[in-house]
């Protein structure tokens, strides 16, 4: 659905299409409203509308009809995603697609047999679709100069205008610019011209993004040359030096590093007093790479007795990616969390997981912060403020 010129057919009930569309739309439309994309939002989801009769007589007729209607709208790329129903009743979607390919020789069909959750969980389905999209890349197009493909399961690290502009600024220091995003909102043309880019870069270092990198390697033979988007001073400096080396501009790297270091060290020095000795627990279920946060808390003198990775309800296991494997607790659950709250009695808990009982412990949100040092320091200010603000907002008290 992120590719706005691809007609996406959900083969299944209308309610499934409603869930798919509404779960995504609000967040995406807010980003369009902020002006984050150069293209307008699209309504490219279609649905075969399988009903009760289809469970008896099959849904291939519904699928054929929907494909014809979608092709009539002018889509040259049509993706077909299956839900549980056609998977269970055994609709022969490849045969339908084969017939439609004959009927519409100018249309490219992309089949994603997710079968709801029968073929796997959310990530499995995402990777399946990604593999199909990766197949759109035209590898006959030669590599160019200066372009950087960005790879990520989500682009929330760049989903503010300031973060997007900062990335562009930093790339420009090395004579680079953004090329395609795999996969973010926009036309499929840049995916087709994927090979034009000089370099590839992962937007973050999570298991999901690593899987995407594998998918792209398989489809294009390309692997990221640039390290993942760096967050925090250590990663930022390493990243800048590597990019400087690759582009033959080491002096640009050192200049930017000096600027970032000065900013970071100065901040840490002037803000350490409020963090020194404070007990901070970290509990993430989104399994983001939070090494920048651990570095920051260590630099600020906080005690971090628990760094925990839990499992999201949609995943099979926690999948931490970290330099601090010896300090993290994987497969952490809510029972362990409750035990820690009682025994550690933290000054603040940093978590991406709103449990609903935050009235009983001081907590800070954590999400994607962005590239470099500035967003990390803004986050530190947020933490600092939270430790000075009332632990519990007044609205929680109904007296």
């Amino acid at each position: 659905m992120r590719l706005n010129d691809v007609g996406v057919i959900l083969h299944g009930p209308r309610s499934c299409a409603y869930l798919m569309d509404s779960s995504r739309s609000k967040a995406v439309l807010e980003m369009f409203d902020e002006g984050l994309y150069d293209t307008p939002p699209a309504r490219n989801l279609r649905c075969s509308g399988m009903d009760d009769a289809a469970s008896i007589f099959g849904g291939v007729g519904d699928l054929e009809r929907c494909i014809r209607e979608t092709a009539a709208e002018g889509y040259k790329d049509i993706a077909i995603i299956t839900t549980c129903m056609p998977g269970i009743i055994g609709d022969d979607c490849p045969a339908v697609i084969g017939r439609m390919s004959q009927e519409y020789p100018g249309v490219r069909f992309h089949y994603v047999p997710a079968d709801g959750d029968i073929a796997g969980d959310y990530t499995d389905g995402f990777i399946m679709a990604a593999a199909s999209i990766a197949g759109m890349a035209d590898m006959s197009i030669p590599r160019g100069k200066g372009g950087v493909n960005l790879i990520g399961s989500s682009f929330f690290d760049l989903h503010t205008p300031s973060q997007r502009d900062n990335l562009r600024r930093v790339l420009a220091l090395f004579g680079l610019h953004e090329h395609a995003r795999f996969v973010d909102e926009g036309p499929s043309d840049l995916i087709r011209r994927y090979n034009e880019a000089e370099f590839d870069m992962a937007i973050n270092d999570t298991m999901a993004t690593r899987e995407l990198v594998d998918v792209l390697r398989g489809a294009t033979g390309r692997s990221p040359e640039l390290p993942p988007l760096p967050t925090g001073l250590r990663e930022y400096a390493e990243w800048l030096r590597e990019v400087g080396r690759l582009t033959g501009r080491p002096e640009a790297a050192e200049e930017e590093i000096s600027r970032a270091e000065e900013s970071y060290r100065g901040f840490v020095e002037s803000h350490r007093a409020r963090f020194a000795g404070k007990k901070v627990m970290v509990f993430t279920r989104l399994n983001m790479n939070i090494d920048w946060l651990i570095d920051l808390l260590d630099d600020l003198g906080a005690e971090v007795p628990r760094i925990a990775f839990g499992k999201s309800s949609r995943k099979r296991a926690a999948a931490p990616v970290t330099r601090y494997a010896d300090r993290v607790t994987a497969e952490y659950d809510d029972e362990a969390f409750n035990d820690d709250l009682a025994s550690i009695r933290p000054d603040i808990v940093i978590t991406d997981y709103p449990r609903g009982d935050e009235a009983s412990w001081r907590h800070a949100r954590i999400g994607k912060v962005g590239m470099g040092v500035a967003p990390v320091l803004r986050y530190a200010e947020y933490l600092e403020d939270l430790m000075r603000l009332p632990a519990f907002e007044g609205w929680r008290d109904l007296r």
Binding site: G12, P13, L29, P41, M85, G87, G116
Partner: protein
Amino acid sequence: MAVESISDAVAFLHGPGGCRIRHMVHSSAVFPRMSDPGDVDFSWFYCGYPRVPATYLDEYDYVNGGSYKVREGLEHISGKKPSLAVVINSPGAALIGDNHEKAIADSGIERAVFMDESLVSMPYTRCYAHTLLTILKSVAGDEHQIRKGTAVILGITIMDKDWAASAEELTAYVASMGLEVLCIPGAGASVEDLAHSVEAEYAIVVCPEACDGLPEFYASRGVKVVRSPDGAPAGLDALESWIRAVAVAAGRDPSKALGAVRVERARIRDKLMGMRYNTARIKGLKFSAAGTASVVRPLTTWLYGYLSMAPVAVAVDPGEDPDEAAALRDFLESVDFGDSFGREPVDGCDVVLCEGFTAETMRLAGQCRIGIPIGYSSMGLDDVIPRPVYGIQGVRYILDEILHGVRGS
């Protein structure tokens, strides 16, 4: 969502976890029923979120059956002592034929029903009403006495934009006529409320599509059904018509309710007269409207007559009330805009009134100037100031959006 509208019932989804997400989030957003904040359930079925527990059906269960998860889930839910648990199949789960009757019996849960029919791809309003009707038939006793001077209000759903504000306002009008509103089935009523709802003297319809089958049920129980000839109370004219329909049917005095509408008319008139330059930009605006027929019809006639806006595309959702749809079509023909009937929102019109994501997408894509959510998906779940579609609040909401939207035009 019909089950989630019942304040002390639990909708238990038999299906994949992905099917749960939207329902659980939307349910707690539009009808928060917060229990003790410390009481967070991290079981397999709730995963830390308090609404719409699910069996998290997976590929193993599709092959081997998932009945054991239904039984275990109901055992767990029974510990929370809901007044009613309702097992609902996802489309995939409906195909595997798990025996919910046995699972309910084996679980020992006191009160539970399951939705037997597969309502796959049927219109939302019809499904909502059907689910409610199934529950009503299960909880409403056969023996009851009609209580004079009482009413229930039908056809508000918790998927309606700011439904609680609509319910409050419409209840106030009915109460001002001396009728006691016992409950609003489908919008916040408890199981006990539903059980006693058949004792009402009147069943007042707001949106016929959203209570499809319910008026007949209540009529069969001796309840007098009241329905406005001009559709749902959206727009000032239809609101007045709705109030009068109640008053005539019940033999009550509508002057207080109509007085409130009259005051509002004067207030709006003053505002529009005062904003003369922006007001002048409204007349002649083209609009597209799409949604439930009994809502789109009064909105269309109101925008046409009250603001002199031109209807260029007017479509009704599947599951439409045939009388409402016919009346809408006839109206458009009568004012020489007949070719707009049946057209989905068009690119290039000034104002689009339809479900929220489409309206917002069209606005962001430059396909309309003003996008006004009136349907079941909405960007406005986080509104603190209610912006419903019905009643005076609905009128203010729509006028606000239009007046703000014509700035700088």
